[in-house]
Amino acid sequence: MRAAALILLVLPVLQGVPQRDSGDWPMPGKDYAATRYSGLSQITPANAPRLRALWSFSTGVLGGHEGQPLVVNNTMYVVTPFPNVLYAFDLTRDGYPLKWKYRPDVNPTSVGIACCDAINRGAVYAAGKIVYNLLDGHTVAVDAITGRELWKTQIGDMGQGETTPMAPFIVRDRVFVGPSGGEFGIYGWVKALDLATGKILWTAHNMGPDSLMIVRPGTFTGGANLGVSTWSGDSWRRGGAPVWGWISYDPQLDLIYFGTGNPGPYNSEQRSGENKWTNSVLARRPGDGSLVWAYQFTPHDSWDFDANAEMILADFVVGGRMRRVLVHFDKNGFAYTLDRATGELLVAEPFAHVTWAKNINRTNGLPVVDTSKTTGASRGNIRGICPSLEGGKSPVSASAYSPRTGLFYTATNNLCMNFEATQVTRIPATPFIGATTPYVAGPGGHMGAFIAWDAARGRKVWEIKEQFPVWSGTVVTAGDVAFYGTLDGWFKAVAIRTGRELWKFKVGSGVVGAPITFRGADGKQYVAVYAGIGGDWFLLAGDVRSDDPADVRPPSDFAPDLGRHTSQGGMVWIFGL
């Protein structure tokens, strides 16, 4: 009780108008709360129509440019998709020439072990270092001023199907990293590395016995070893639960929050039980990794509903009381508002068209599943599951929160799927999937939308429909402008109070990364974004590929026009007034 009262006194500081924005962008989500909100306000709905392209740079790499640049100390840092070059641009000189570029030695085998294109989701800055992951299972730290490599640590094993495109996250002296490989039957984990040396300090798995999950006795009312008892046999050993998305941190509670991905294989009949803690949010102590609480969004997943989307931390009134919450737009189509101290479910409402479940039971936090939409090898082809396994929103497409409006701004997909599961055997270093999942557009025929969401009430406030799924991240500013990009290559500014489009520019290739905004050396506000379609869209729309004469594919049947508007690309753009 006393602790709660003290925390409530602190809340107005957290929730109120922030101090003058530093104007930089040191970590993927801008801040520990992953708000992707900037206090910069020079760009407004009134002047946004006058935005101009000011600078561009070809990354030299063709492929999905997920992630976002960093800006620290008048230097912009860009990590490319494989081969993961790190560029450092001098923002004080005309034309932003490079200070240096770092070209790591990275194993090309990783390109074939990565399920979903050779992407990279970004770097993080702390204590004079730029830290990021190479696709082949290594984390590197580079001196932010000189570009010299400081340490390189192996964290993943490609022989087990692990690759590492996610953006690391740093709290104090700890670097947090996780693997991809939910499609390769990995045994998922999060590791903490020492920032100074790169040494691995702890590894916490996402399922298995409490000892490997770093769960202290008495943590869960359901008992001990839930990471074993909720799996048939030893299916947890190859149960997936990758950590390929974003991490956030509450300094008062001293908790890091991240989502885990899908259980493997997709054929759910090979792993009976709720499969904890796949498709869950985990709250861990950064110091020793111990698991404090967890909540599973989609138990016994039979739809590939990874829960790796960002956990945005905010404080606002829910149900008449000020709450410290975590907001998460899940692949399963529900937007969740949870108490971030305890994991208590406060709000869970659909933000996309949902057919796999009727609603989320507020009392026990469980989805009320429409069992006619449950898939499995014995059940044949299940039709009309919404959302598709791309999610109501992809975890790639990091959303943003404005403390000025109290609303969240996010990309969404409007896709449904059929799902036919098959028995599959795990052969390490080969896919462990077992499903065919063709897509169709959701109701209305438009395949995506950019929306404003009220997480206190669980409802959409406005929506901009798009022809194609919206896969970019979002940045929102104190000027009440948000930016996002489309798969057909438009980068757009919208007025957040009305949902009115203010400006757009064709950036040359589909946008699958997140825009950022920063204060330049001249004091002016700038916006930067990558262009370069890929990620899942490299798999789904293989006809966007032009560079390999030995890989010629037909268009996808659900988005046959996409290749008309975009090929693969690799550009960094900067816009300003």
């Binding site: 074939g112 055997t425 052969i427 080969t430 798009e466 490299f538 798999l539 006809d543």
Partner: protein, 129 residues
């Protein structure tokens, strides 16, 4: 000692091809092998990277009539047996030669679209929401 394979898609220094051991597919004209090969393509998880029907997914299309590492029977065998750069695993340690040849037979039996080089979008304008 791995067998040498004739590489017709490669440039040979001096125009001189390396000596080639004969690599023939003894399952080549066997329709049951196409069916077997299709099943093996799934059970060995080939479809997980190359897509159902080998149309392409993470890994390239195997049914477009184009070959990154050579399209002879021997080159396909070598690709599967030894693996290739950029992530094609070596299957020679878990698949028998007969199983590999059946997969080669299945892949070669797939129709190659006659209009592979040209992708056109004729007709109506794309729908706008």
């Amino acid at each position: 000692m791995p067998p040498s394979i004739r590489y017709p898609n490669h440039v040979a220094a001096g125009g001189s091809q390396p000596p080639a051991a004969e690599m023939t597919n003894s399952f080549a004209s066997d329709t049951a092998s196409v069916t077997d090969g299709s099943k093996i393509f799934s059970t060995m998880n080939c479809d997980g990277c190359h897509g159902g029907g080998a149309l392409g997914w993470v890994g390239p299309s195997l049914v477009d009539g184009r070959w990154r590492y050579g399209g002879t029977d021997g080159a396909l065998y070598q690709s599967i047996f030894y693996g290739r750069p950029r992530g094609m695993p070596a299957y020679g340690g878990v698949m028998s030669p007969g199983a590999i040849w059946k997969v080669v037979t299945y892949i070669r039996a797939q129709p190659v679209p006659s209009v592979v080089p040209t992708q056109a979008w004729p007709g109506t304008e794309t729908r706008r929401p």
